[in-house]
């Protein structure tokens, strides 16, 4: 393990560059052919090297998948945060829409990588939680932040204040205290529904569940859903 204080040796630099290249090539393969077709041998070929050589840099195919998972979460998180912060902090409804639209935009431009993050799990591959939960929760954290700010500003209210059942309230109380949120459980539950619904709509579109020619006005459809979901979440 290299001492982080000392400057990197040429060898360490070359190594870092090679790993960078492997990730870049892996990303291209992933985007083109999907996760299950990601082949270390193909990456090695593109790198101009024999297959066994890449094992000097990447432990296994699953390890490369993990690197690409983190890479994709990072890119999505960046895109979403940039879109949200382009709007004033008190435009809660606008920020909610911006977040959802940014996720959708990224998903449609990177369907295979979106599938890796939010689609069916790759068989035999288990993402290591300790390395992926951080980057993987940036978007949901962003949403919760918007709802929390709205609530603190008195701009979040449920149409009807029916309390959630106790077992569910306990779950949301845990989230509330862990993320230091002011939003009560009832509204958090509605936020969770809006959250899953946004991803449901995006997944249907990306994964082709809508059918080839059912909807021609897909942008409008998504925006229509967002209008209603903002209301569901309590943003008025």
């Amino acid at each position: 393990m290299a001492d982080p204080l000392k400057p990197p040796t040429p060898r360490e630099q070359a190594r870092a560059r090679t790993i960078e290249q492997i990730i870049r090539l892996g990303r291209e393969h992933l985007a083109l052919h999907g996760a299950a077709a990601l082949s270390l041998r193909a990456v090695a070929r593109d790198l101009g090297v024999v297959s066994s050589a890449v094992y000097r840099y990447v432990e296994s195919r699953d390890e490369l998948l993990t690197l690409l998972l983190i890479d994709a979460y990072g890119e999505l998180g960046d895109a979403v945060e940039a879109a949200v912060e382009a709007l004033p902090a008190d435009d809660f409804r606008g920020r909610f829409a911006a977040l959802a639209l940014a996720v959708r935009k990224w998903a449609l431009s990177e369907p295979a990588r979106y599938a890796l993050l939010f689609g069916s799990p790759v068989p035999g591959y288990q993402a290591p939680a300790e390395r992926t939960t951080g980057p993987g929760t940036r978007v949901v954290t962003g949403l919760m932040g918007i709802l929390d700010s709205a609530y603190r500003a008195g701009k979040l209210a449920a149409p009807d204040a029916a309390a959630v059942v106790p077992a569910l309230a306990a779950d949301f109380e845990a989230i509330r205290s862990e993320m230091d949120l002011a939003v009560p459980a009832t509204l958090l539950a509605r936020g969770a529904l809006a959250w899953t619904s946004v991803f449901g709509a995006i997944s249907f579109e990306v994964f082709g569940q809508y059918g080839a020619d059912t909807f021609s006005a897909r942008d409008e459809l998504f925006r229509h859903h967002l209008q209603i979901l903002a209301g569901v979440a309590g943003l008025e």
Copy 2:
């Protein structure tokens, strides 16, 4: 091609039995290891036969995948229709919930097969639309039927009757006329949102997006979502 009027010859019967066995074994492999890991050679081994022999019955691995896709759609459709029809035809809200709960129940008991139907597409595999759209649309047809019956009974109403934008209205008008529905476009759009939201919630749960221990009361969470989504769809 065998004449459907004549009784099947012993050879045809044996052939049908073998195909049946292949589908059964394929289903087991699919459920155990997932779609991407479905191996014709492994099925052949379980069948006690050399791999090339299976190609006498199934054109390719993709063909087997198609058979399993249709098989899974059929099973899901049966389960959902049975659950819906167990309730009185005028209990629209109950039927809506029964439909969603049946999908969820099947999805949780058959995660790999659910993933094949509603998860990320298998790379390199394109389902033949002419053979899968029929069985694949049974559930959404069921939902639309419930909403349509409710509307015809005067039990479906939008909280606010804001019209959808024209481009979107055209899409829904096409669906309306093709499926012979009475529901107006505004309500159909809300039904579509409820539809995608139900699958979003189920996919999050099946694909592990909720995290290992975020929610302990998942049944209650889903029921909570359904309560709100029924309202979103206009079922009151």
